[in-house]
């Protein structure tokens, strides 16, 4: 006997993400789901964003890694509450992990929550976390072909950070090719060329983010 189901395999996470979004909205918390490859500069980017905003905005961070608390310690050292999630092998964060992490945060006292997803351009794209925006970092040292190889994540982001722009001159990265891929995949995304090391372009990102926070 054949039964028509038409059930979404991600339905449990979709429902949970909706609930999380409602909780964030009720508490006036703006949430960023930050995704990138390992080594793209996610933690440096978070630290620099904290440095730029922490006098005006109450920030907290959820760090997702397969193992270790290295990132959460760096964020705490910057004077911001941080919760470390160790996924124990899972290659992405999901709604259930975020729900667990929220028991360690006081949402009343937070304006901006940055969730650093596990370093990976594949799996995090499939799991919503109740975020307001998805931000992807792609760095010069990764090469200009990443949007073509991992289209899903680049097609869903609200903003793209091109990090390590200070390395552009000494690399084979073709910015025209890269920009053409992004323009085709996601013409609506905000694009920011920055360097966490030199600070180049960072003001534009902060101004864009501040406009979203209002």
């Amino acid at each position: 006997m054949e039964i028509d189901l038409g059930r979404n395999v991600f339905e449990a996470n979709v429902q949970l993400a909706k609930k999380l979004k409602a909780v964030f909205d009720d508490n006036g918390v703006f949430v960023i789901n930050l995704m990138a490859s390992p080594g793209a500069g996610k933690t440096s980017f978070i630290l620099k964003t904290i440095e730029s905003l922490k006098d005006d905005v109450a920030i907290a961070v959820i760090e997702g890694d397969i193992a270790s608390a290295v990132d959460a310690e760096k964020v705490r050292a910057a004077g911001v509450p941080a919760v470390q999630i160790n996924t124990g092998g899972a290659c992405h964060l999901d709604g259930r992990m975020i729900k667990g992490a929220l028991t360690h945060l006081n949402l009343d006292e937070i304006d901006l929550l940055i969730i650093e997803n596990v370093g990976n351009l594949v799996c995090p794209a499939e799991f919503d976390l109740g975020e307001d925006i998805k931000v992807v970092i792609s760095s010069i040292s990764e090469g200009d072909d990443k949007p073509l190889k991992y289209p899903r994540i680049f097609s869903e982001m609200d903003a793209l950070i091109i990090n390590k722009i200070d390395l552009l001159e000494s690399s084979d990265f073709n910015m025209d090719d890269f920009a053409r891929s992004i323009a085709g995949l996601n013409p609506a995304a905000g694009v920011f060329e920055i360097s966490c090391k030199t600070g180049q372009g960072f003001d534009d990102w902060i101004a864009w983010l501040a406009s979203k926070l209002k």
Partner: protein
Amino acid sequence: MHEMAITENILKIVLEESEKRGARAVKRVALEIGELTNIVPDCIDFYFELMAKGTAAEGARLESKLIPLEAECEICKMRRRVDDLDFLCSCGGHMKTVQGKELVIATIEIEGDRA
């Protein structure tokens, strides 16, 4: 890599639906997998076979149908297949995905007492 978590969900839904109907066994599971998902059907087959052991879905055949990526222009409403990863419409508008991101259990085939 996330196929294991996904396969767990698939098996959970399949067993829930078959138990609800009093089935003794699940013979076939038909999946629809969007082109823009990052899912490898062979990987799901592999995990499903392992995870279904000892359940009503042990030995069930998994069928995967690929759903092509299609988008519709926000301005002129033209709908087309996106085979070049280009979401810009010829009219200059931005195209929104209408299919190709889904992972759906379309049908299951069961047999048993009440089935």
